[in-house]
Symmetry: C2
Subunit: 357 residues, 2 copies
């Protein structure tokens, strides 16, 4: 090895350092708490009837969490809205009673920016959630929540994803008059995550070898943890080149279960909440197909047919558990990517900022 | 071969006969046109603010089409709602201004029935779309649209899916005062489909062999054809055991494109509408990764980097094209399943009626 090669960092060193930086990033998000409280007050004053979230990739996965943050805290209906209807089909939908949240780490995603520009003209209350408070998205929106995650250099998003979950929970919490509880919950989650990272890394490192030749996976979850299932599947796709498809625990039984075999494993997110029975039922079907099952989440140990269990400590309130439960998936993607001889910092065919329409 | 074996039907004979029955099934759906017109009048009279659709599997895929049927015709916001929030988390969401549409071929899906029962109590206008007008779902709902598809015996849904699209288009059309236009459009689509089936079968039959050893695929679409992408991916999962993941053309670029290689092909739905540029852009990225690309849909020939093209004739209005564009995917799943030595009529691990929670 030449000296020039010797100083090249290990594959995935950026990805790993950003995964480990997530507790500190969550603490920095709390610097936006007062601004988020003001935005919540505006949403209430404007009598918002519907929350419409728009984003792609990890941002859209975070929006799946937003459905539950707004649903469980202020009991508002929040949806992942169609960008196409407004931007590509140019349909004049009535957006006057809506809060529109544009989600983009870079703040540059073209059709998300365009959607917000149109929504603002149509009378919606527009909010940007972005890691770049000077971006086009922030300029387009009436209000901006700055993620404060710091520069994210690995192509695969980690800390911006977790901070987006935190931002959505804080906004929903303030709307529900429970902002202080959520703020304190995020601080607690950051501390628990900091304590848990070494154990998460050790457990996922030893899990990588048995999965080194895996080409296909399902990642299942339901309710608040469906966002986690989507985000872990995306990490596996982009850093490990595994065809990893996210499914709700229930949709798995409506067809896809038929594709499983012993070389087609499943990662199941099991939360200690009202969805646990659906995940356990799916686990029994997965087991019956002979597929290897990894269970993670706060109720991982309750999935007794699983071959591997990666329990995640609880949060208070439980709604915040997705801030932690994605992290074993991120670390598994890191370990598996390295085991397969790939560099998770620089996946083929991707750039950090995606400028497609 | 013994005489007893000789009378066993060929693998996939049920699946194939139901695919070919779809034009007749669509004609039968039109028998519900007057009832659908009455339901539309009730929805308008009740001043519906939001359409909430709930279902799993193919029914949920049809709901993706409903987003555009309601968005483009009456310009109403329609969403695939969270079942979990209401049923598993027991959250009292205000549903009084909503039309809730429960989608289930069998009418027996437990959490969809439970959602409708709760929504009706909460003041929503509840509508069942089902192939069994005496089912639990029909009993739970205030109004029922009977699909009239006739008995569907293959496990993988075909004619009930296409009829569900037609039912959603008719309902949205009547709400928009364009019911007669949609009725006539469905009749025309059924005739075009009937004419096209032999050519679709010949083209997909010759396509099966090059894909016989495929383990992973993406199926991409956007806008009205995203439902088609989801449904084709589901057919490939359940009948061919391919890990087929549906993605919007734009989400593909936000990470998953990195997983592609020459053995990881993509099926792209290209429609002659405002989304075509997004699909062409995705196609260029797929081509750059060396992946084989199949283009289908009304604008298949406009995807010049594709290796295979399966053009689908246009419909009038264009919004109805998903009633046709799913069919080459169904026939490809049939041919590929047979080429792989599987029986698409009886996938492992599945029953026709899925009773999981």
């Amino acid at each position: 090895m030449s000296q020039a090669e010797a100083i090249v960092p290990a594959p995935g060193s950026l990805f790993r350092s950003e995964i480990f930086e997530q507790p500190a990033a969550l603490e920095r998000l709390l610097g936006a708490n007062e601004e988020i409280e003001r935005i919540a007050a505006t949403a209430v004053a404007r009598n918002v009837q519907l929350v419409r979230m728009v984003g792609h990739g990890s941002s859209d996965n975070a929006a799946s969490y937003g459905v539950y943050a707004f649903g469980l805290l202020p009991r508002w209906t929040a949806v992942r809205d169609s960008i196409t209807l407004t931007v590509h089909y140019d349909t004049p939908i009535d957006l006057s009673g809506s809060m529109v949240i544009g989600l983009s780490q870079s703040g540059q995603t073209p059709d998300v920016v365009e959607y917000l520009l149109r929504a603002r003209k149509a009378g919606a209350f527009t909010v940007a959630i972005t890691n770049d408070a000077d971006s086009d998205l922030a300029v387009a929106a009436e209000a901006t929540i700055a993620l404060g995650a710091g520069p994210e250099l690995a192509v695969a998003a980690t800390k911006t994803y977790v901070n987006t979950l935190g931002a959505l929970a804080l906004l929903a919490g303030h709307i529900a008059g429970r902002g202080a509880e959520i703020e304190s919950g995020i601080r607690g989650a950051a501390a628990t995550l900091s304590d848990s990272l070494p154990a998460f890394e050790a457990a996922t490192h030893s899990l990588a070898l048995p999965f080194a030749y895996t080409g296909r996976m399902f990642v299942i979850g339901r309710g608040t943890e469906f966002a986690t299932a989507r985000e872990i599947a995306l990490k596996l796709l982009e850093t490990c080149r595994i065809a990893a498809e996210p499914l709700t625990a229930t949709d798995l039984a409506h067809g896809p279960v038929a594709a499983l075999d012993p070389l087609f494993p499943v990662w199941a997110l099991a939360a200690a909440d009202g969805t646990l029975a659906t995940v356990q039922e799916a686990a029994a079907r997965i087991h019956a197909m002979g597929a290897t099952l990894v269970a993670s989440g706060t109720a991982a140990t309750a999935v007794t047919v699983s071959s591997y269990r990666l329990p995640v400590p609880p949060t208070e309130p439980a709604l915040l558990s997705p801030l932690l439960s994605v992290v074993p998936g991120q670390l598994f993607a890191l370990a598996l990517s390295r085991a397969r001889g790939l560099d998770p910092d620089a996946p083929t065919g991707l750039n950090k900022v995606t400028l497609v329409t």
